[in-house]
């Protein structure tokens, strides 16, 4: 049996009420008031598609062996690198093996997530691989005062496919291609270019998704009535329901499009909706999943008894619940570089990233791997050639020690107004890890006035720097204080 063996989701902490956009921008384009309800997820200033995919992947890999991964596929239309394997960055952040693994990026349309899933399942079905992790994420920029700004949210999802402990058996797929350009983004452009909404709704989503589902049913001989949930994205909520009605699906069997809770997360969205559905699924449930974008992919799954044995660390629902309102529209526009605010001369520093040093230290930087001394047992970061314990100081007697999944406590901290930051103050401090070891780290997803010494933290993979001159994006791990209440 092949199919889904684990799943996870990630929605960034900030949610912005659509009323906030309206209050700030309806003067410019009142039409946005048509979709006034609910809220959209907003990635923090130090997140991007890769970092969110890493968060969803860790959520998915709870209790699973990252060292046994045989493939990491990444799907996104907002990859930070046009030429550097983005999936390879994610695999390194997961401390996946470097040998005996084939990773790949899937891009250029919003159904890339479901296409990556089909490719993963085909690789497993062929016997070439026993598992593949598919992560999908998008952090799309939208111009201010547009419908896209209202509809789009940021988020990620990850699904592990494999042969063992399958929680949802794969029941075939069907794809169709349609060069239907509802929107496009030319190379080098920051924003999507959007065609008329009415056409996109009626001729795009409204016709292509039903056609693909019909193709799947015909190919597999399945009956739509047998599916407990039908899952497809469509940010026009009326059209989303209209397609269900047209297909004869009861609204209770239609998976929510998440417009109210986070908005459309692009490439991640079908898998994020799937992850949400799997959190509620019972053994025997059949799930039909469709991804839309220049065509449509349809995949069928049947939930097994093993679903009782798996829960993601937090899941899409946990991410959705752990939210903080972002009432400051200007902050959001700065986070997405939609406005120009001065960082001062101090903020102009832009040292080049040494790619040789990054290669040598890739485990340390991307995987947050330190050392554990085999002579005295001391975990330590950063990794230097000699043990830090003054009573040991053994040379080279180390084994890798992963800090990324360790919890810890704040030993000391500050909020720095002098440091150039798009979200001042820059909060950082020294963290002591449970089980030993400490590290000097930036903090994120926190407010200075809520932090205290001894507060527990968990780690999060974040974008550390963006080199606008050279186009490089640097990543490292930050501490997220667990603020209670």
């Amino acid at each position: 049996m092949i199919g889904i063996t684990a799943f996870g989701g990630y929605i960034p902490r900030y949610r912005m009420s659509r009323m906030t956009i309206i209050q700030n921008m309806a003067w410019y384009f009142p039409v946005i008031m048509a979709v006034a309800g609910g809220e959209k997820s907003v990635a923090n200033w130090d997140e991007d598609a890769v970092s969110m995919a890493v968060a969803a992947s860790y959520d998915c890999m709870t209790g699973k062996n990252r060292k046994a991964l045989e493939g990491v596929f990444f799907a996104s239309t907002t990859m930070p690198f046009a030429d550097r394997l983005n999936a390879g960055v994610i695999a390194a952040a997961l401390n996946a093996p470097e040998e005996g693994i084939a990773n790949a990026d899937f891009s250029a349309c919003l159904k890339a997530g479901t296409t990556a899933a089909i490719s993963a399942l085909e690789a497993i079905a062929s016997g070439e691989r026993s598992n593949v992790l598919v992560a999908a994420a998008d952090m799309r920029k939208a111009k201010m005062a547009t419908m896209a700004e209202m509809f789009i949210g940021d988020g990620a999802a990850a699904v592990l496919f494999g042969k063992d402990d399958v929680i949802a058996e794969f029941k075939g797929s069907y794809s169709l291609n349609a060069d239907f350009v509802d929107h496009y983004k030319g190379v080098g452009k920051d924003f999507d270019y959007q065609w008329e909404e009415r056409w996109v709704r009626d001729e795009g989503y409204g016709k292509i998704i039903p056609k693909a589902i019909a193709g799947y049913l015909k190919k597999t001989g399945a009956n739509l009535a047998d599916f407990a949930k039908v899952i497809y994205p469509c940010y026009f909520t009326g059209t989303h329901r209209g397609i269900a009605k047209q297909l004869g699906i009861d609204p209770s069997r239609l998976q929510d499009n998440m417009h109210n809770v986070c908005g459309d997360t692009g490439t991640a969205h079908p898998l994020l909706m799937l992850a949400s559905a799997l959190e509620q699924a019972k053994p025997g449930d059949r799930l039909l999943l469709a991804g839309f974008g220049q065509g449509c992919d349809v995949l069928g799954f049947e939930v097994t008894d093993k679903i009782k044995n798996f829960r993601p660390a937090r899941g899409a629902s946990g991410s959705l619940a752990a939210k903080v309102d972002l009432p400051n529209y200007q902050k959001y526009t700065k986070f997405r570089d939609l406005i120009t605010a001065d960082l001062g001369i101090r903020g102009e520093a832009n040292p080049n990233t040494s790619l040789t040093a990054l290669w040598r230290k890739r485990k340390m930087i991307l995987g947050f791997v330190g050392n554990k001394c085999t002579a005295c047992g001391t975990p330590q970061f950063p990794s230097l050639p000699m043990c830090v314990n003054p009573d040991c100081n053994e040379v080279g007697k180390f084994e890798d020690y992963e800090f990324a999944d360790k919890s810890g406590k704040i030993q000391m901290f500050t909020g720095d107004m002098l440091s150039p930051s798009v979200d001042p103050p820059a909060v950082y401090g020294l963290v002591e890890f449970d089980g030993g070891g400490k590290a000097f780290l930036d903090f994120t997803d926190c407010d200075l006035n809520q932090i205290k010494v001894s507060m527990p933290i968990q780690m999060s993979f974040r974008r550390r720097m963006k080199d606008q001159t050279r186009g490089f994006t640097g990543y490292f791990w930050k501490a997220v204080p667990k603020v209670q209440g």
Binding site: G344, I345, R346, A349, P351, T353, S354, A357, L358, K361, M364, I365, T378, Q380, F381, P382, L384, V388, N389, P390, Q411, M412, F413, T414, G415, D416, M417, L418, S419, P420, S421, P425, A426, Y428, G429, L430, G437, K438, A439, F440, L441, D442, L448, V453, S454, R464, G474, F476
Partner: protein, 401 residues
């Protein structure tokens, strides 16, 4: 067993510029200004100097690498000149080079000069140091600045002793109030206005809990010293001879940032001060040290340093500070010249500027800041950050005492 540096080297001349925003002077002008005062004080011809050490920190924005800047500005007679850099201990490192050269017998007369021209960068605070932390650290270090790095110590200190951070901030405020009072009496100091506790407490936040008045001045300036043996000093007709009693340096080895540390003290200062007292033959520093110039880059640094110097008991520095123990009229005056806080902090010059004040106090030249009958003067530098730093300590006093 090493015999230590005590009384092997004498300071025969010192010079120091006015510190401040010296917009119209470059590092060369500043060095010459300090050097001229120093050579005159020493009463020698500059060509009698046989070796020199230059201390600077931010070479990238100032004099460039190597010691050519000093050799050329001072038109030294083609002698050995060495640039040293060890963060905020750079000035004391230059002094150490000169002192050790004389003590070794390698030369008779040596010069130590420190300079920093910080106000050529176009923004407040120290130059940003993204390129100064090393290639690997640049891949992961937090987005920190100097005030932020030291501000962390206040949270660690308050937590360790169960204090409200605002009570610690009140003691920190008095550190600054005291230094401003002293700086106001010093014509060479950068900041010369007295401030109140309320002004310090309410100053704009720089890095929690450090406000603007918890941070030292960022200044241009230069200071220098000429050293020789006590015997040569006597042969030059010097009567009151100021000699080096101790000179110690301690550097972090990674335990604070990566192993065990309470986050409430400086490991390096704790060790370097103990070694310095041993070298100087001091048994009870709280009673025997007459005065100090310590590294008050930020008020919290000075507060914690009082404990690391084994003068205030652990956890008791706030009480000593509030009791006026370190005020100019207190038992052990600290920062009589205004400290980094008010005299200013041109990094490479700071260690030598501290020695300049101790030297003048020991010679009775400190005017209305004069401390009565000082015996031992201590200087202290702390470069880097609380969790990885360089500490230097010097003790000077009258020769033969």
């Amino acid at each position: 067993m090493a015999s230590g540096i005590k009384d092997k080297v004498a300071i025969i001349g010192m010079g120091c510029t006015r510190f401040g925003e010296r917009w119209n002077d470059g590092p060369e002008e500043l060095m010459v200004e300090a050097f001229q005062e120093c050579v005159k004080d020493a009463g020698i011809d500059k060509n009698e100097i046989q070796a020199a050490w230059l201390g600077t920190c931010f070479d990238e924005v100032m004099v460039g690498k190597s010691a050519l800047s000093a050799s050329m500005a001072l038109r030294l007679p083609n002698i050995s000149v060495t640039r040293v850099e060890n963060f905020c201990a750079s000035g004391t490192e230059a002094f150490r080079g000169a002192v050790y050269a004389v003590a070794s017998g390698a030369c008779d007369i040596a010069l130590a000069i420190g300079v920093e021209k910080l106000k050529d960068i176009g923004y407040g605070g120290l130059p940003e140091f993204s390129t100064a932390i090393g290639t690997t650290n640049a891949l992961w270090f937090p987005n920190l600045t100097a005030p932020g790095g030291f501000a962390m110590l206040a949270s660690g200190y308050a937590a360790k002793y169960g204090l409200d951070i605002m009570d610690v901030k009140r003691a920190m405020a008095h550190v600054s109030v005291k230094s401003h009072a002293n700086g106001a009496r010093n014509a060479k100091a950068h900041l010369r206005k007295p401030v109140t506790d309320e002004q310090v407490m309410n100053s704009p936040m720089i890095a929690f809990p450090l406000g603007l008045f918890d941070c030292c001045g960022v200044s241009d300036g230069s200071a220098c010293a000429i050293v020789t043996t006590p015997e040569i000093a006597m042969s030059l007709g010097k009567k009151d001879i100021i000699s080096v009693k101790a000179l110690q340096l301690a550097l972090s080895n990674g335990t604070e940032i990566a192993y065990k540390w309470d986050g409430a003290h400086f490991t390096t200062t704790t060790k370097a001060s103990k070694a310095a007292y041993d070298e100087a033959g001091i048994k009870n520093p709280r009673e025997e040290i007459s005065m100090m110039e310590v590294h008050d880059c930020f008020s919290i640094t000075e507060l914690v340093t009082m404990e690391d110097l084994h003068i205030s008991e652990r956890g008791k520095a706030p009480k000593d500070i509030m009791d006026g123990f370190y005020d100019l009229d207190g038992k052990l005056p600290c920062q009589p010249d205004g400290g980094l806080k008010c005299f200013g902090h041109p990094i490479g010059a700071s260690g030598l500027r501290m020695l300049y004040e101790m030297y003048n106090q020991l010679l009775g030249r400190a005017g209305d800041r004069q401390i009565k009958d000082p015996k031992f003067g201590l200087t202290h530098n702390l470069g880097g950050f609380p969790m990885m730093n360089v500490c230097s300590i010097a003790i000077v006093g009258k020769y033969g005492t």
